[in-house]
C-alpha cells in the first residue's frame, strides 16, 4: 500500500492486507495511522496543524501479504482475496491510527476524521485540492471539539470492511463517514510515538463494489470543521486502492522430478497480466485407493478447499518470470505428488488454479551416496600432529625474531 498525504507529499512503507470475500466484495485491511506532532506548544491561540500522517501496520497474516509499499507516491493495490480459506477465519483487518499534531489547538477548533472513496486511478489523478473537501451539501458529521491551548493526541480505529457496512463505498459515489475520536489525550510530544489501543467499531457501511478497483481515502482535518472542510483547512490523508479483480490463472507449469524433490518451472507464457506479483504452488501426495483421482482429472479442487495455509505451500516469488522456478525438496522418492499453481497479483488477489500436474520424485545417485569405493568422510584427527608441529615451528621463529635473531 502506498499512502499519499495532503499538505505536502508523504509516502510510507509497511505491509497491508485487505481481503475481499468473493462475490460480495468484502475487504479486510490492517493499517495503523498516526499524525506526528513535534513542535512544542507556543503562544495561546496559535492554530494547530497536521504535520504528518504515517501508517503503521499490524495483523499482517502469515507474512504472505506483507510487502513494501509503492513508490513515487503511487497508490498500490491492496489485496481483495478472501481470508476465509486461508486462515480459517473471517476476521477483518483492523485499521487504526493515531492523530498527532504540531502546535496547540486554538479556540473553537475541531478534529474530524472520515473516509471517502472514488474510482481508482493509477497515480491518484484527483488533484490534492479536491481531496478530503466537504461542503454544505455533504451529510453532516460530528466532530470533536478540541481543548484550547493543548497539543492533542488522538486515536481511532475501525475494522475494514465490516465496520463500514452501509458506507456505500464505490467508485461512483463519493461516500462520507466519520469517526469520532474515542479518546483524546493532550500531551506535549517530542520525538516519541505513543500508540493507543482503541479500535471501537464505527459507522456501519457496506462496500458495494464487486469488481474493478476503487480508492479509499482516509481523511483527517482540523479547524472550524463542524460543517465544511475547505482546501484551506489543515488536513491530511492517505489512500489505499482496492483491487477487486482476480488475475488470470497461469499456464500449467512444467515439473521435473529430482532426487527427493521436484522442480516447478513457469514459462513467460504463463503470465497474462502486468500486475502479477508471484505464484503459489500447492502440492500434496497423490491420494491412493478410494480417494485416488480419476486418470484425466486435472482439477485442483482439493487445493481450493483446503486453503493456502495448509502445508506444504510454496510461493514463487520471482517477479522476473523469464525462468521462474522453484525447487521443492523433502519429498519421498517414488511417490506421485500433485502440484497446483495459481497467480497472485500485487493486491494479493489469487487466480483460479491452473490445471494440476503430477510428478514423482526419483531416486538419483549423488556423489557421496553411490561412491563405489570405501569412503571415509568427516574431519580427521590425523592432521593434528601436523598442525601442532607447524605451530611449534612458528613459535620458535617468532621467539628468534623477538630476540633480534635472523
Amino acid at each position: 500500500m502506498n499512502a499519499v498525504g495532503g499538505n505536502g507529499a508523504m509516502w510510507v512503507r509497511g505491509c497491508v492486507t485487505m481481503r475481499f470475500h468473493r462475490g460480495i466484495g468484502v475487504a479486510v485491511a490492517g493499517v495503523l495511522v498516526s499524525v506526528l506532532g513535534l513542535v512544542p506548544s507556543t503562544a495561546l491561540g496559535q492554530s494547530i496543524t497536521l504535520s504528518e500522517l504515517t501508517p503503521f501496520l499490524e495483523n499482517c497474516d502469515l507474512g504472505l501479504n506483507c510487502r513494501d509499499l509503492g513508490e513515487n507516491d503511487q497508490c498500490t493495490l491492496l489485496n481483495s482475496a478472501t481470508c476465509t480459506s486461508e486462515v480459517g477465519s473471517t476476521q477483518d483487518r483492523e485499521v487504526s491510527f493515531i492523530v498527532r499534531t504540531s502546535g496547540v489547538s486554538a479556540a473553537n477548533q475541531d478534529m474530524v476524521i472520515w473516509v471517502e472513496s472514488e474510482a481508482y486511478q493509477l497515480g491518484s489523478a484527483t488533484p490534492d485540492s479536491e481531496k478530503c473537501i466537504r461542503d454544505q451539501n455533504e451529510p453532516k458529521f460530528d466532530s470533536l471539539k478540541l481543548e484550547t491551548d493543548r497539543a492533542p493526541l488522538g486515536s481511532a480505529g475501525f475494522n475494514f470492511p465490516a465496520d463500514l457496512t452501509g458506507l456505500n463505498l464505490n467508485r461512483d459515489n463519493p461516500a462520507r463517514t466519520r469517526w469520532t475520536l474515542s479518546q483524546i489525550i493532550y500531551e506535549a510530544i517530542e520525538n516519541t510515538t505513543q500508540l493507543l489501543d482503541d479500535t471501537a467499531p464505527l459507522t456501519a457501511a457496506q462496500c458495494t463494489e464487486t469488481s474493478g478497483s476503487l480508492t479509499v481515502r482516509l481523511c483527517v482535518a482540523i479547524g472550524n470543521t463542524s460543517s465544511v472542510v475547505t482546501d484551506a483547512d489543515p488536513r491530511k490523508w492517505f489512500e489505499f486502492a482496492v483491487d477487486l479483480d482476480k488475475p488470470s490463472p497461469p499456464q500449467p507449469p512444467s515439473v521435473t522430478s529430482r532426487d527427493s524433490g521436484v522442480q516447478v518451472s513457469l514459462t513467460p507464457t504463463s503470465v497474462s497480466e502486468d500486475d502479477v506479483e508471484r505464484w503459489e504452488v500447492i502440492y500434496r501426495q497423490q491420494p491412493t485407493g478410494a480417494d485416488a483421482p480419476a486418470p484425466n482429472d486435472t482439477s485442483c479442487t482439493w487445493a481450493e478447499t483446503s486453503g493456502t495455509c495448509q502445508n506444504p505451500r510454496v510461493e514463487l516469488v520471482n517477479r522476473q518470470i523469464q525462468n521462474a522456478t522453484e525447487n521443492i525438496g523433502g519429498l519421498t522418492n517414488g511417490i506421485p505428488y500433485e502440484f497446483c499453481v495459481r497467480t497472485v497479483d500485487r493486491a494479493a488477489n489469487r487466480s483460479d488454479f491452473a490445471a494440476k500436474v503430477v510428478a514423482t520424485p526419483q531416486d538419483e545417485c549423488d556423489f557421496i551416496e553411490c561412491y563405489p569405493g570405501d569412503l571415509r568422510t568427516g574431519c580427521s584427527a590425523t592432521a593434528l600432529p601436523m598442525w601442532a608441529l607447524l605451530a611449534l615451528g612458528g613459535g620458535w621463529v617468532w621467539r628468534r625474531r623477538q630476540r633480534g635473531l635472523r
Partner: protein
C-alpha cells in the same frame, strides 16, 4: 602459458635496457629485504579423487564429462573427461631468515568448486529406475540426473618458502626463483540441491591431509615503473611480482585410500606484493 612467455621476454628486454636506471633509483636495494609477502594465484586444478579407477570414473560421471553428456553411459563408455576448473588461492609469506635469499614461513588458503549432476540408473529402455542397492554405478547404465550437485574444496597449506632474490637485490635482474614446500589440509563438502549430501554413515563433508612441493619464478615488476617503485618502497612496498609456479601436491591423507584424494600436478600464475 603464452602470456607468461611474453611477460618473461619483455622482462628480459626491460632488464637489459632499464637495468642501469633501476640501479640509480635505488642504490641501496641490497640493504633492505622484504619482511612479508602476499600473493593471489589462480590456475587449473583437478583432484585425483582416488587411486582406484572406478572411483575416479564415478567422479567423472558426476562432476566431469558425465555431467555434461546426454544419453546413456555404461561401463563401455569411454572419453569421460575429468573436471579441471580454476583454483583460486591466497598465499602469505613471512620472511624470517636471510640466507643469500629469503627463507620464510608460508601459509595459504584456496578455493575450488565444480558443478555436477546426479546419476540416474535406467533400464534397457532408458527409463529411470532406482539403482540396485550396493551396485557400482560405473558398471551399470545411467543417465544424467535432474538434481544439481556441487563439490567445493578449500585447500589450506603451510610450509616454508625460499626465494633466491640475490640477483634482484644486487644487480637489478628482476627474476627471483623460488621453491616452496609444506603440508596441506583439504577441506571439502558436497552439496546436492543446495544441501549437504548424506547417505547412511557417510556425510558429504570431510578433510584430507597431504603435502606439496613447488618451484616457481617471480618477476619483479619494479623495472616497469622504477620511479613509482621507488616511491612505493618509501611507503613500505618492497615490490610487486608476477609469478609462475609448478606444484606437485600429494593429498591422500598420507596413504589412506579411504579418503578423497586431492593430489594434482598443476601450474598457476599469480600476482604478489612484498612489504618491508
Amino acid at each position: 602459458m603464452m602470456i607468461a612467455a611474453w611477460t618473461l621476454a619483455a622482462a628480459t628486454v626491460a632488464t637489459v635496457t632499464l637495468g642501469t636506471e633501476t640501479e640509480e633509483v635505488d642504490p641501496n636495494r641490497e640493504e633492505r629485504t622484504a619482511d612479508f609477502g602476499v600473493e593471489f594465484r589462480l590456475g587449473p586444478y583437478g583432484p585425483r579423487i582416488s587411486d582406484n579407477r572406478n572411483d575416479r570414473r564415478y567422479f567423472r560421471l558426476v562432476y566431469g564429462g558425465g555431467a555434461e553428456r546426454e544419453g546413456v553411459i555404461d561401463a563401455n563408455t569411454t572419453g569421460l573427461s575429468a573436471p579441471n576448473n580454476i583454483q583460486f588461492s591466497l598465499v602469505a609469506d613471512w620472511y624470517v631468515f636471510d640466507l643469500i635469499g629469503q627463507l620464510g614461513l608460508s601459509g595459504g588458503v584456496g578455493f575450488w568448486t565444480v558443478k555436477g549432476r546426479t546419476r540416474s540408473c535406467v533400464d534397457n529402455n532408458a527409463n529411470p529406475e532406482p539403482c540396485p542397492a550396493g551396485v557400482d554405478v560405473t558398471t551399470v547404465r545411467t543417465i544424467r540426473g535432474n538434481t544439481p550437485t556441487r563439490l567445493t574444496v578449500i585447500p589450506l597449506n603451510a610450509g616454508l618458502v625460499y626465494r633466491f632474490d640475490l640477483l634482484d637485490r644486487r644487480w637489478g635482474i628482476p627474476f627471483v626463483p623460488y621453491v616452496r614446500g609444506g603440508v596441506d589440509y583439504y577441506l571439502w563438502w558436497d552439496r546436492v540441491d543446495g544441501e549437504i549430501s548424506e547417505s547412511g554413515d557417510r556425510e558429504g563433508m570431510g578433510a584430507t591431509a597431504g603435502y606439496h612441493g613447488a618451484v616457481g619464478l617471480a618477476i619483479n615488476l619494479s623495472f616497469v615503473e622504477p620511479r613509482t617503485a621507488a616511491a612505493a618502497a618509501r611507503r613500505g612496498i618492497a615490490g610487486t611480482f608476477l609469478t609462475g609456479e609448478y606444484r606437485r601436491t600429494v593429498a591422500d591423507h598420507f596413504g589412506r585410500s579411504n579418503r578423497l584424494e586431492f593430489s594434482d600436478m598443476t601450474w598457476s600464475v599469480g600476482l604478489g606484493v612484498q612489504f618491508y
